[in-house]
Amino acid sequence: MANLTLVQAINLALIQEMEADDRVMLLGEDVGPNGGVFRVTDGLHARFGGDRVVDTPLAESGIIGTAIGLAMNGLRPVPEIQFEGFLGPAYDQITTHAARMRTRTRGAFTVPMVVRVPIGGGIHAPELHSDSPEAIYAHHPGLKVVMPASPYDAKGLLISAIRDPDPVMYFEPKRIYRAFREEVPEDEYTIPIGEARVVSEGEELTIVTWGAPVVQCMKAIENSEKSIELIDLRTIYPVDIDAIEESVKKTGRCVIVHEAPKTCGFGAEIATSIMERCFLHLEAPVQRVTGFDTVMPYYKLELEYLPETERISRAIEEVAAY
């Protein structure tokens, strides 16, 4: 057991999977000698060499399109996109090819690749370095979408993702890259894709969230007198709707928290699913505390945009009082 940050946990998972399977290779911008702009791949170039940890040209569609070819020809590429704001140029390759390859060839070709992307706000980064694109990729069938909220989960989910025979979008909430440490086993272990985690149990209200806002939700729960259950989705698609259903049937009230804009955010999907499954158990409408339907502002105002604790607390009170 070691006490690791989320960045270190990912680094460890990469090392162990690369040791275990020589089909695993990394590619991306600055992932080589520099170790990535967040140092997630620190030391890997020295350890595994330039054939397995490859600095590519500055071209995101190129990185993903090439990774698709690598995967189709037997490798297990783990491409990195430097920030979610630069995932856009790769959107087409991800959605028209990676996501469709298995079904359009009825299984003759598959794309086992893991696209690692730091996402989300809160670190005073420049423009286009703070968005949360999970709903976009969840809307495209054929992908899995994962977002760890703790070092322990980060390692276990990444190992699952690398071993998964289908393409996985692995979104890393950069706000908590180094925000806290956690005991992480040295051995390899997996956390199943598609299973949510109950962070804390409660009886009166359910909060559903994922990624960095888990921290703000925990604070809001601490500040509240209510008995609140907190669910960290961990996987966005396929979502663990059974876990949510179970909790909301118990509590009858639910608040969903995410950083992405409200309209068509993943919160809408969950809220609708809750209505579909828990209609007669709901004592208040499910509420969303999310980013606003504006472009994420530059950093002077980013904390006003993000769903910080106070906004969550207010929603808790309002839903509880409904």
Binding site: M25, D51, V54, T56, P57, A59, S61, G62, I64, G65, T66, A67, I68, G69, L70, A71, M72, N73, G74, L75, P77, P89, D92, Q93, T96, H97, R102, T103, R104, T105, R106, G107, A108, F109, T110, P141, G142, K144, D164, P165, D166, G194, Y237, P238, V239, I241, D242, S273, E276, R277
Partner: protein, 376 residues
């Protein structure tokens, strides 16, 4: 020196069997043995016949949109002939001749255009990727396929085919740039057929040649008469050698012409001059090879008759296989989504409902039940 030259280059055009039937004995020596030339010619006849049949299938409602290959048979065929069986062919959608030569069953391509994914369910041993619909995107896959082979220190290379229009897409640029800078064994084979649907190739590339696209990457580039199968074979062979031995990519511009409409959904008379088409009909790769074979006494009227009969037989059989395939099952488009189907997708498949009231298991009638929509 205030002004000094830091780069100098030129681009060659290669031709062996020209449109008048002249054969350059020196350059052409040993490129294609007689016996193979006959086989390639017969193959082209089959492909040409398939185009005719496919056109009719579409017109009579038995197939969806189909892109004729007519006039371009020598390009992909010459390349496929020049490559090893284990080299990847990464096509767009106008490479029937090369794909069939490699061994892709004709009915696979028909099934694709008949709206059936089983047309893409290609045996991995064939080293062929499925037809690519989004223009320009498949070159990146070729780059990755070739990279994986290099990574494993295998001899395999990749050859990707695309049109003049495709060279306008950013993905083409990124693929070529990756291949050149990371030393990957890829052949970029551009079929410049003069048009991208209704847009003439000057709008895609106003430079004197499309071949010079490759100069941007410091790549070897060459222009070839794409209706001359000898020249195509030669330049592809050279490119393959460079790729295999030096892990260096090559850009090939094969100058050819689309004699038919863009697809059966197109009417080329709206935008191009019949005279242009007529002038290119004289350069038809099939006519040219036939003339060559007849002059060498390798071909006779009788052989021609027999070859056409064989082509009809082959195509008829392929159409039959394509049309007689069992109806696809609805469950297929669910089951093929992931290695393991997520629970909610299973429910959608089993209930054929997306609304949750249909999710009650009591509504299940088995996974291969009739589709809701096809009941009426």
């Amino acid at each position: 020196m205030p002004v000094k030259t830091v780069f100098e280059t030129k681009i060659d055009h290669v031709s062996i069997l020209d449109e008048n039937g002249n054969f350059d004995a020196k350059l052409g020596k040993g490129v294609i043995p007689d016996q193979d030339a006959v086989a390639l010619f017969e193959h082209m006849l089959t492909c040409r016949h398939l185009d005719e049949v496919a056109f009719k299938l579409q017109r009579s409602g038995r197939m969806g949109t189909y892109p004729e290959n007519r006039g371009q048979e020598a390009t992909s065929l010459g390349a496929a002939y020049a490559l090893d069986k284990k080299d990847w062919l990464v096509p767009c959608y106008r490479e029937n001749a090369g794909l069939f030569w490699r061994g892709l069953p004709i009915e696979m391509v028909l099934l694709h255009w008949m709206g059936d994914e089983r047309g893409n369910q290609i045996d991995n041993e064939l080293c062929i990727t499925p037809l690519a619909i989004p223009i320009g995107t498949q070159m990146l896959h070729a780059t990755g396929l070739a990279w994986a082979a290099k990574y494993r220190q295998e001899k395999q290379i990749a050859c990707t085919f695309f049109g003049d229009g495709a060279t306008s897409e950013g993905d083409f640029h990124e693929a070529a740039n990756f291949a050149a800078n990371l030393d990957l064994p890829v052949i970029f084979f551009c079929q410049n057929n003069g048009w991208a649907i209704s847009v003439p190739s000057k709008i895609q590339c106003s430079a004197p040649t499309v071949a010079q696209r490759g100069l941007a990457y410091g790549m070897d580039c060459v222009q070839v008469d794409g209706n001359d199968i000898f020249a195509v074979v030669k330049v592809t062979r050279d490119a393959a050698k460079l790729a295999r031995e030096k892990k260096r990519p090559t850009f090939i511009e094969a100058v050819t012409y689309r004699l038919g409409d863009h697809t059966t959904a197109d009417d080329a008379r709206r935008y191009r001059d019949e005279k242009e088409v007529e002038s290119w009909k004289k350069k038809d790769p099939i006519l040219r090879l036939e003339k060559y074979l007849r002059e060498k006494k390798l071909w006779t009227d009788k052989k021609h008759e027999a070859a056409l009969a064989k082509a009809r037989e082959t195509v008829t059989a392929a159409v039959k296989r394509a049309e007689e395939i069992a109806d696809p099952k609805i469950a297929d488009f669910f089951n093929s989504m992931y290695a393991e189907l997520p629970a909610d997708l299973k429910r959608q498949r089993d209930t054929m409902c997306t609304h949750s009231l249909g999710l009650d298991p009591s509504q299940l009638e088995g996974t291969e039940r009739q589709a809701v929509n096809s009941q009426h």
